[in-house]
Symmetry: C2
Subunit: 663 residues, 2 copies
């Protein structure tokens, strides 16, 4: 996704009126009188008064709602509103072209040429402006007039209200046929009829234009994506507008087909990433490209095939013509994003862990062979660092990390664990190498969360096991591992240092369970499940002393991460209003157990929330609203990435965090 | 070529400083005080005082030159200067990014954010501005300080001095290697080192970036085309920068390989357009697409193959790697442009003669299979109408039709004849269907200008023939046809109405020639060349009565065109300071004969100039200077296209023009 900021800066803004106005009013000596520029940090507060008129009510008879929101300085009033679910009239989506987003702003705000064309001198004087052109560089009071048209909105992500304004737009027009007196070109004729958008033509659209216009008796639908006219279709096709949101995970890939007219998902499909044969985690896939010059190409193909197959599936399931998919959004970590784009990931895998770019440009879905509309674009999310990628930025968008005044901690647990902390003003993030323990790796009886995996454990007089698929237990998945350790700590069979207590103490502490504490070879293990009475421990599902150590290291890596982030912002555990556990693992994990082993800060379990697949939700939001997409861009500026590996205090903290002091 | 204007308008210009400054200084009531906007017609005059400091001279010891130039209102001071060969320091080419084009301007001019960053308050007060951001909306006096670096310039077109500023730029940089303390992305690292340009990355460049940076020990050359970073090359390759200018004619295609570093052509090649099998003129090629659905594709392929073969030829001839060709410019008429882009030309061929677009977007040369750099762009010229295409706009650029104060008439003679008239303020243009006579078509002994074609004729006591290739005359080409008729009118064997005089009178009028006046069947002919003494007229090269009629109709169509244009601007023949005859035909035509038959206005022959292949020259200029390219864009606004076919007075004028009253 190319940040809109790039374009205006790349070119001088030389509208004559605009310049004359500037020229007219800039007394050359005045720069001294110029207010001190905002330093760009922190937040500014906007107090919205939203007027609402019940249908049929006369002007004046309005009800009004007050809303206070806080945004980074420089965000437009229009964005500040949309990001917080406050609807303002607009059809151009905040590009200054439709002149509909009228608001009244306190104090003296800038007047752009668009304002001057839209409002009378007295209206300008009383603070009326176009919301998409007023930047909130100070606290503002904003009056929002009643909507002339009710905008559609959808609830996405962690309870986010998204006002629909997709990059994909359609306009149905009925044109006059050309004559010798009116030889306007086909393109000019079409664009003149589209009053609220000013798209650039794309060659594909130009190739279709003459035939489609004439075959459609000059009644056609223009398909516009962002600033580009990508197609013309005969007749009125405005009812059909789709897009696909991809969560491109290292392990699993999820596709959601969105109806952009209603904002609703119409089909979902998921499958394993076809890159699996190259290894389970990003490091092994990066290594593959370092050992075999062809691997990069094959990894790219594998990723593209995965996306294409899912695209075909969701379209078939919903009975949608793939050519009606005009845009796709792809949320993936930095390595997945590099691989799907065919960018060499090697620098991501070796110190100093450098990305090629934080902001991948959008590409034609055709170049990725996705089989959707030939001119559909694939857009990506910016990445904060080599190990805090676009999937996390999408997740932050979906969970509103940048919109919420509360202090919140975002944790995506996995082989690489991403952590984000916001105090409502500042946002910091880091990555912690947790290792494979949570995915069952390096654990004696570890396995993925599949049929036969023990996912929950309760220890009392008996052992209560929750098993996926209600079948004979075969092993232990991540959430089960955390439960097992947490429960053993609770009943006291594991001490705070993570050692199994001596045989003698065990009998006393937990008479009903101590016989499960036994040995395999030289290693002490706790038997969670015996296939047959008196079965040899080696044939049982057990938790070994080494397993406990593995988990200790994994959780210590993570808790060291958020501990250092809390220190960075000068916060205590108790200051945290909410902990968001992202990803599927977060959904299965027992909050109580997570607290007990110290994987998350010591907090009431109600403050710990499973956020679900927030990356996929963020991808949806970017497709449903160009304003949300701009919000994702903004995160790149707002969030500070903290590299932990070179912190001197890292090791001390890590050692402190090894113990189970959460109990 | 997408007009720069499109971008800023499509997006709100929301630079905080910029807006604060506007906001600070716009008294809301002031719009009334706003000066009346210039109506955009006519010209404004800029008086340049250009300071020059001889090497080693101390500041203050400057010589100065005065230059007055007139440009359309709204053109920037920077463009006004470059278009007139006045050099102003700049490395970004007028995009407001390098902040080097400092000038002092009379009166109070607008202050943009770039000015405010570049100059002190007192400098701003005394009128210092960045020339690329000041629009000439009124007459101005401009002081140009001595150049800090001498810009290269090249002489192109009809004596045009072009200051080199190609869209293709290279920057060699030596970068610090990343560390854990400095994890800046490869892209940010590269862009930070390029101080005067702000390119957008292209996926191809991103794919190469990590490897090239590391293989080149972080010493690399960035290749930037327009606003786009298209490649990175290891080491310093700044000495190699090429582009190809194509004149895509209906009959002949010419390619010129340009060294953009020196601005010099290094190789030229030409060949017949491979579309020939589909017919000799645009109408027959358009008809082909109407009769056969596959013809459009095959015509596009034929055009692309022609361009690709020429590209390979010029690169081989100059020993240049085709991948060092980073941009190509294609000047062709509206039909050729549509066909090479694969756009259906049918609407160009049938009333009301409508183009798909006046301004074809630039495309990847790769999509045209030109075999140059994979990310090279192919740029096109805007067209004024279905029959005044990009080739004519390129020709107007090369001949400076919009920069010259003199009243000038531009005529490109051919099957379709394009005519442009400028009085120094207004520019009008039209097209006249002259038919094939000038190419030897529909002429009894007509042939193309090839070996054996009679190209010049003088009649006195004998007949003097100029024959191409000094071989036995085989026929009559266009210029020979014009000479023949003109000479016969001069000696009196043809009367003003275009009839051969009666046998009796002929004897008296031209005793030495009258025996050449004879009959073939019922038709009177004049024998120009007898292969053998007493050979049968049917075996001779003759001019027939019908040939004379054909020429009359052709020249009447053309002279009716410029007659109506003169009336449009209220001008007489005598007001015309110069007639430019474009194209190869113009080079061979005898000015005296053209005047005598009334093909061009009655003027001293010295005012009639052969301009040569101006389309190709215009294509070169667009590649050598982005400012000249902007000039071509501007022509789209400046030139008024006059459709003649629906003029009531057309027929009367046409009949008047049939007679040979030029004598």
């Amino acid at each position: 996704m190319t940040p809109p900021e790039e374009l205006p800066d790349a070119l001088p803004d030389v509208d004559p009126d605009d310049l004359r106005r500037e020229g007219l009013v800039v007394p050359p000596a005045s720069p001294t009188a110029d207010p001190v520029p905002h330093d760009g940090t922190g937040r500014v507060e906007l107090a919205f008064t939203v007027l609402d008129r019940s249908p049929g009510a006369a002007p004046g008879q309005e009800s009004s709602t007050e809303r206070r929101v806080r945004v980074p300085p420089g965000v437009t009033v229009f964005d500040s509103a949309s990001w917080n679910g406050i609807a303002i009239d607009s059809t151009c989506g905040g590009h200054g072209t439709c002149h509909k987003c009228k608001v009244q702003v306190s104090g003296s705000s800038p007047i752009t040429r668009h304002d001057a064309r839209t409002f009378s001198a007295s209206e300008l004087e009383s603070g009326w402006r176009l919301a998409c052109l007023v930047q909130a560089t100070r606290d503002l009071e904003v009056l929002v007039p009643p909507l002339t048209t009710r905008p559609k909105a959808a609830t996405v992500g962690v309870g986010r209200q998204v006002i629909l304004r997709p990059a994909v737009q359609k306009r149905y027009v009925e044109l006059e046929e050309p004559t010798l007196e009116d030889q306007a070109t086909d393109l000019d004729r079409l664009l003149a009829a589209i009053t609220d958008l000013e798209p650039r033509p794309d060659l594909h659209a130009l190739r279709r234009l003459p035939k489609v216009l004439r075959e459609g008796d000059f009644k056609v639908t223009a398909v516009i994506v962002d600033e580009e006219l990508v197609d013309v279709e005969p007749g009125d096709t405005t009812a059909t507008r789709c897009a696909i949101a991809f969560d491109l995970g290292t392990t699993t890939v999820v596709a959601t087909l969105l109806d952009l007219v209603t904002g609703t998902p119409v089909a979902v499909a998921s499958m394993l990433n076809r890159q699996q044969p190259f290894g389970g985690d990003v490091i092994s896939r990066i290594s593959a490209t370092m050992m075999d010059p062809d691997a990069l190409g094959r990894l790219q193909t594998a990723a593209c095939e995965t996306l294409a197959e899912l695209a075909a599936q969701v379209c078939a399931e919903a009975g949608v013509d793939p050519h009606a998919v005009y845009e796709v959004a792809i949320a993936g970590n930095a390595t997945m994003t590099a691989l799907v784009l065919g960018i060499d990931p090697e620098p991501l895998g070796v110190a100093p862990f450098v990305m090629t770019t934080a902001l991948p440009p959008s590409v034609l879905a055709e170049d990725l062979h996705l089989g959707v509309h030939p001119r559909a674009r694939a857009v990506f999310f910016p990445a904060l660092g080599a190990y805090v990628g676009g999937d996390i930025v999408a997740g932050m968008l979906a969970s509103g990390m940048d919109r919420d005044k509360r202090t919140r901690l975002f944790i995506d647990v996995g082989t690489n664990c991403e952590i984000v902390l916001s105090d409502g003003d500042r946002i910091v993030s880091t990555a912690a190498p947790a290792g494979p323990a949570f995915e069952g790796g390096a654990i004696r009886c570890g396995m993925r969360a599949a049929d036969g995996a023990i996912e929950t454990i309760r220890l009392g007089d008996t052992v209560e096991l929750g098993v996926i698929g209600d079948v004979e237990p075969r092993g232990l998945c991540g959430s089960g591992l955390v439960d097992a350790v947490a429960e053993l700590v609770k009943v006291g069979l594991l001490d705070a240092s993570g050692r199994f207590v001596p045989e003698a103490d065990a009998k006393e502490i937990a008479p009903a369970l101590h016989d499960r504490l036994t040995m395999i070879g030289q290693e002490r293990v706790f038997v969670l499940h015996r296939p047959t009475p008196g079965a040899d421990p080696a044939e049982c599902v057990v938790l070994s002393q080494r397993d406990v150590r593995e988990l200790q290291f994994a959780k210590a890596a993570i808790s060291t991460g958020w501990t250092l982030l809390l220190e960075e912002l000068g916060l205590e555990h108790g200051d945290i209003a909410q902990v968001l556990l992202a990803g599927s693992f977060g959904s299965y994990l027992s909050a109580a157990s997570a607290v007990r082993i110290g994987l998350v800060p010591k907090l009431p379990v109600l403050r710990i929330v499973a956020a679900g697949n927030v990356a996929g939700e963020g991808a949806k939001m970017a497709l449903l609203s160009v304003r949300e997409r701009a919000g994702a861009q903004a995160l790149l500026e707002e969030v500070t990435y903290v590299e932990l590996s070179d912190r001197p205090e890292f090791n001390d903290r890590f050692v402190e965090q090894l113990s189970f002091n959460g109990g």
